[in-house]
């Protein structure tokens, strides 16, 4: 493996293709350049220590050869963690800020704490697992095509405007820690599905949205995604059957064309 000549403190771990980096005195651009160099020289795993507010971690890692790596973050990464993410895996041992997985295409982000506003905005593939809660406008304009169906699983709940303009994908709120108090859920929703465990009032949900109970097909999706969630957070000691065997609400769009009747033509029909 090619040696990277970098004047930063890092150490080899027992795994040859893994590396540890102390990010305490690095700015955003410096840290992301380093990660890119590491990826291009063949490292598959990087452990970042003392991360404090550096943005866009994982964003610089696009390569036409589609190389992928795992990044473990200790500390608190800044906004837009994993924005435009292209197949990489990011694990945050702590909280994350706004814009996690913004417009990500593939890969996985695991947050062992809380994730901020617009989590998974315009996400079109891959999965985000958040142990705690997510902020306002999460899953905004998430979309899907063909085999690409993004998934967000949240251990807790979300703030207002969850799934606004949602056009595809799956959002699951497990409600493990308390009641769901978000309002304006699914404003402008025209695709995808939101599953919420626990009570949700009709007044919390936009009128574009159909409220129903999950059927067998839904339960299958829920089962596999919740199992994946449990796998990532073993310390929660959750049982998938126990979680499934609760009150669930399914939110889906009434129409894939919510504004179809809003317009009139200046031309004759």
């Amino acid at each position: 493996m090619e040696e990277v000549q970098l004047e930063v403190s890092y150490g080899r771990t027992s795994n040859e293709s893994a590396i540890e980096i102390d990010a305490s005195h690095m700015d955003t651009r410096e840290l992301n350049s380093l990660l890119r160099d590491l990826m291009l020289s063949g490292y598959e795993r990087a452990v970042l220590r003392n991360v404090c507010g550096q943005r866009y971690i994982g964003t610089r890692l696009y390569s036409p050869q589609r190389r992928v790596m795992t990044i473990e973050i200790h500390g608190t990464p800044g906004n837009d963690l994993g924005a435009f993410l292209f197949g990489h895996r990011i694990v945050v041992h702590g909280n994350a800020q706004d814009g996690v997985g913004n417009t990500m295409a593939s890969g996985e982000i695991v947050v062992e704490g809380r994730s901020g506003d617009v989590t998974g905005m315009s996400m079109r593939g891959g999965r985000i697992f958040v142990k705690g809660d997510v902020g306002y406008r999460s899953a905004l304009h998430m979309k899907e095509h063909d085999q690409k169906r993004p998934v967000i699983v949240v251990g807790g709940t979300s703030q207002d405007f969850l799934g606004e303009y949602m056009a595809g994908g799956v959002v699951i709120l497990l409600g493990l820690y308390g009641a769901h108090t978000a309002s304006f859920i699914g404003s402008g929703m025209h695709g995808g599905v939101i599953y919420i465990r626990g009570e949700i009032g009709e007044e919390q949900v936009n009128s574009h949205v159909l409220i129903s109970r999950p059927d067998d097909a839904d339960t299958e999706i829920l089962g596999s995604q919740i199992s994946a969630f449990i796998e990532r957070f073993p310390d929660l000691s959750l049982d998938v059957d126990c979680i499934l065997d609760s009150e669930w609400t399914k939110l889906s769009p009434r129409s894939s064309r919510p504004y179809g009747k809003l317009y009139a033509s200046t031309a004759p029909d």
């Binding site: 955003t28 651009r29 992301n32 890119r36 943005r55 866009y56 964003t59 610089r60 696009y62 036409p64 906004n79 837009d80 924005a83 435009f84 993410l85 292209f86 706004d98 814009g99 913004n102 417009t103 295409a105 617009v118 905005m121 315009s122 079109r124 406008r137 905004l140 304009h141 979309k143 899907e144 095509h145 063909d146 690409k148 606004e164 303009y165 056009a167 595809g168 402008g188 025209h190 695709g191 894939s256 064309r257 919510p258 504004y259 179809g260 009747k261 809003l262 317009y263 009139a264 033509s265 200046t266 031309a267 004759p268």
Partner: protein, 498 residues
């Protein structure tokens, strides 16, 4: 409900008509039909869009389409348009949609500015005999240059255009695949750029056209992934558009065909909804974040353009955008085109591009940040003289959209939003789309750019200038005619004769 609106056009057919039914075949709106029992062509003027397709393609030249002579009682307050819009809304209850740029008689400042030429005191230059430089570099320029040979001045990424005219954003989905391809081919042949709009880039075009593509990131984030952003010469963040500042866009489900869906990465047949704002941009600081995220994902190899509509406080907005790190600022004036926009927005929101260019250029100069960002002006550029005037007012280059569509055959019938474009430009109907021959259309576009470039050189030569660089912000080459004092002030030019 029976429509109470009068027809806009009358169709007349001369004796020459031999009932070949070409007009019936050509009209996508159903204005011509053939009555077998009477062996006669029937016209339904209510359906006529005035696109002139039938008139051009009638082998006998027998068809004439004219504005309908019928009228409501003349009334200065209640024009025909006001009356008919009310009738249409009373019939439908909907927001009136239309296509193309505003047709309202806002003052066109291009037509109130005259260019200078050299006479005696300095010689004019003959571009046929002497080199004339139109090549333009768009992007952030360094504060200072080092003249020592051992230190290279590092430059930020830039776009190089051979002529200061780029094709503005027109998405695949709004326009047909053939029209989109024609723009891409013409841009690559002419040494300029086309812009994907927010419809993504068809995957089979990525490698061939990436050197000449500007890819757009708009509020819907359609078709965007790291690969798309890296298959481009530059990335444009679209905040607004001259035809519909402040509102989003809805590509109706009917236009989301299988291939459009794959390119936008959404399911077939669903509405493609672009929210009014980017929901991760609620401030200049948030804009800075998206600009940086795009620079990160493209490894700082591509300039980032931020496109906004020209609105009242455009100069302050522009200052914020430059400070947020944009390499190029694109401004779209009130006359900018569209595939579909609410008529009331198109015709009432925004300001003319001429005033916007001048006030932005002046503000950025006053703040000492003009070199950090290039300006591309669009929305109402109709001819090479408009290009020259835009650059003299302070733009670095211009975007053309409507002019490019007209070159391909568009007649501005304003029916883009119906998806039934008879010229095969603004449609996803395979039969209509085939009407636009890609080779022919791209040749027309290349010819247009080549003709304009020659004309620009002639105008520059006449002024005694041999590089477009020397024209930029050179307001002394402009004089206003028929303008008020405040208009001359905003434009920063003297009146003719002064």
């Amino acid at each position: 409900m029976r429509s109470l609106v009068l027809p806009e056009f009358t169709i007349s057919r001369s004796e020459e008509c031999d009932r070949c039914r070409a007009c019936e075949h050509q009209c996508p709106f159903g204005a011509h039909t053939y009555d077998v029992s009477k062996d006669k062509m029937i016209s339904d003027s209510y359906r006529c869009a005035g696109c002139q397709r039938c008139a051009v393609f009638c082998p006998k030249g027998a068809i004439e389409i004219r504005p309908a002579p019928s009228f409501y009682r003349p009334n200065a307050s209640w024009s025909r348009e006001r009356i008919e819009d009310i009738k249409r809304q009373a019939e439908s209850g909907g927001v009136l949609l239309t296509g193309c740029g505003s047709d309202k008689p806002f003052r066109i400042y291009w037509d109130h500015m005259l260019l200078n030429a050299s006479q005696v005191t300095n010689p004019s230059i003959d571009p046929l005999r002497e080199p004339m430089e139109l090549r333009t570099f768009l992007g952030s320029k360094p504060d200072r240059l080092s003249l020592r040979s051992d230190t290279d001045t590092a430059t930020d990424p830039f776009l190089m255009v051979e002529t200061p005219v780029l094709f503005s954003a027109m998405s695949y989905g709004a326009i047909s695949y053939n029209a989109f391809q024609a723009l891409a081919i013409a841009a690559s042949r002419s040494g300029t750029f086309f812009n994907t709009g927010e419809g993504g880039m068809p995957s089979e075009m990525k490698s061939q056209f990436k050197k000449h593509a500007i890819v757009q990131v708009a509020s819907g984030r359609f078709g965007i992934d790291a690969e798309y952003l890296n298959c481009a010469a530059a990335v444009e963040i679209k905040i607004g558009q001259g035809a519909k500042p402040g509102i989003g866009g809805h590509l109706p489900g009917e236009k989301v065909s299988q291939h459009v869906a794959a390119t936008r990465m959404i399911p077939e047949g669903t509405d493609a909804i672009s929210p009014a704002p980017h929901h991760d941009i609620y401030s200049i600081e948030d804009l800075e974040m998206l600009i940086s995220a795009i620079k990160e994902v493209t490894n700082y190899e591509k300039p980032v353009i931020v496109k906004v509509a020209a609105v009242h406080n455009i100069s302050a907005i522009a200052s914020g955008i430059v400070r947020a790190g944009a390499d190029i600022l694109a401004i779209d004036g009130v006359r900018g085109g569209t595939g579909a926009a609410p008529k009331v927005i198109r015709d009432n929101v925004g300001i003319p591009i001429e005033l916007a260019i001048s006030s932005v250029d002046r503000r950025l100069r006053d703040e000492g940040i003009r070199e950090r960002c290039s300006i591309i002006a669009g929305g109402g550029i109709r001819c090479s003289a408009d290009v020259v005037k835009a650059i003299a007012l302070g733009a670095d280059a211009v975007y053309i959209g409507t002019a490019a569509l007209i070159a391909m055959g568009c007649t501005l019938c304003q029916r883009c939003h119906t998806g039934r474009c008879s010229w095969g430009i603004c449609t996803q109907d395979p039969g209509l789309m085939r009407r636009l021959n890609v080779d022919d259309a791209s040749r027309r576009l290349v010819n247009l750019l080549s003709a304009w470039s020659h004309e620009i050189k002639e105008m520059l030569g006449g002024m005694g200038i041999n590089a477009i660089e020397s024209l930029r912000g050179n307001r002394d080459q402009l004089r206003g005619i028929g303008l008020h004092e405040w208009e001359l002030d905003v434009l920063g030019i003297k009146g003719a004769g002064e």
